[in-house]
Symmetry: C2
Subunit: 259 residues, 2 copies
Amino acid sequence: MPFLFPDHPTIGIFGFGAFGRLTARHLMDHFALFVHDINADAVSASASELNLRAADVVTVAQCDIVILAVPVTAMRSVIATISPHVRAGAIILDVGSVKMEPARMMLEGLPDHVDIIGTHPLFGPQSARAGISGLKIAICPVRGRQFCRVGAFLRHVLGLKVFVVTPEAHDREAAVVQGVTHLIAKVLVQMGPLPARMTTASFDLLVQATEMVRYDAPSVFWAIENANPYAGAVREQFFELATGVRDQLADNPCAKEAF
Amino acid sequence: MPFLFPDHPTIGIFGFGAFGRLTARHLMDHFALFVHDINADAVSASASELNLRAADVVTVAQCDIVILAVPVTAMRSVIATISPHVRAGAIILDVGSVKMEPARMMLEGLPDHVDIIGTHPLFGPQSARAGISGLKIAICPVRGRQFCRVGAFLRHVLGLKVFVVTPEAHDREAAVVQGVTHLIAKVLVQMGPLPARMTTASFDLLVQATEMVRYDAPSVFWAIENANPYAGAVREQFFELATGVRDQLADNPCAKEAF
């Protein structure tokens, strides 16, 4: 750690929702943290619980590392707000579920003198309950070389499995991984209450998967399904294949004749 | 065990596919087993591997307990074949994934002097890999009182969680549990190869659920989706809700405006 960040950098977290709090919890032992949220009441309660300093916009924007833990839909305005204040040589990174849009917005909206990294921790408050060591994170270098030591920190200090990929490669894969999971979870939640008695092991796994994502903020679902340019095509493929299975079942005369 | 079955009964298994073999493996330490399959070659190889006696139709049909481990679509003809040979006081049971149809077929096709039980072990070769203790089984008493000692054996000797229910209650619940699981698995298998790198814990669970059922015999899928009278309605509900989610995403102007 001292080798990776010898200068004891400060970290500013914008957005103190479920993921901002999770981020703070895992970084507070390693860095001096400052947090800001547009909902001042929420942040002050949670921050004091974690023994953190709630701070004004300028203080947070001037940190050595600035983490944008806001919904993808709010990112453009947050970037505009912090842009005049960010320090030369700072690292700005986001933690959104999609990477192409945020990368484009950060490149457009932030001055040339900062490094930009897109990150996507592939876990949330539910899956991180038993700790984050061994969990996965994607990082997308957007500008500058400091992603190397950020990646090394995530790997060696937090124990995460780090995947360095382009925003395009991330979004293409996440369109299936997250798009399909959240789509299925949305449907299963609406079908509920689901049977809990005569269940199979495979059905139990489906229910577990659903429970893990059903409490994610609505903005997470919308980003996954709308802000990922590949999500629409994956959804259509899912529906086309599902419709194919349905038609096959409806047209199956053998099955009917058997009885 | 001696208390439950003091008379050292013989067990005959009709059908030596994946589930017949799984059944044999867990009963062979407790009973004298005889097995028969229409595919004589398949049964002789597998049976000798398990050190079991492959037997003719009449020998198997005359056992004290006869287990029908054949596809639901083959059950009517197997019942007709064994019916003239079954012994008075014998227990005839099936292990199909649906219970209403088999119960009706056994009641119609078997003589009054045998007990009839529908059973549905809520596991398969994949989920039973680490042993069956703690797994679930539904039993549906169809005729006679011997389901009590069968249930006691399954519970106390094999360690299964036993649910005694009507065939209707079973099929209603299984329509969701199995119908939805197999439908989703069919679609995910066709979407493959699925991402295996930047995955989330919830997506990993979906993939695990799919892996558990994707190698089930095609006849299992057809029975679950076609022979369960409630499966069609569940499938329609799934599609209706999924279409609702899709339409909601397509019509969401806020998400589009945000970029």
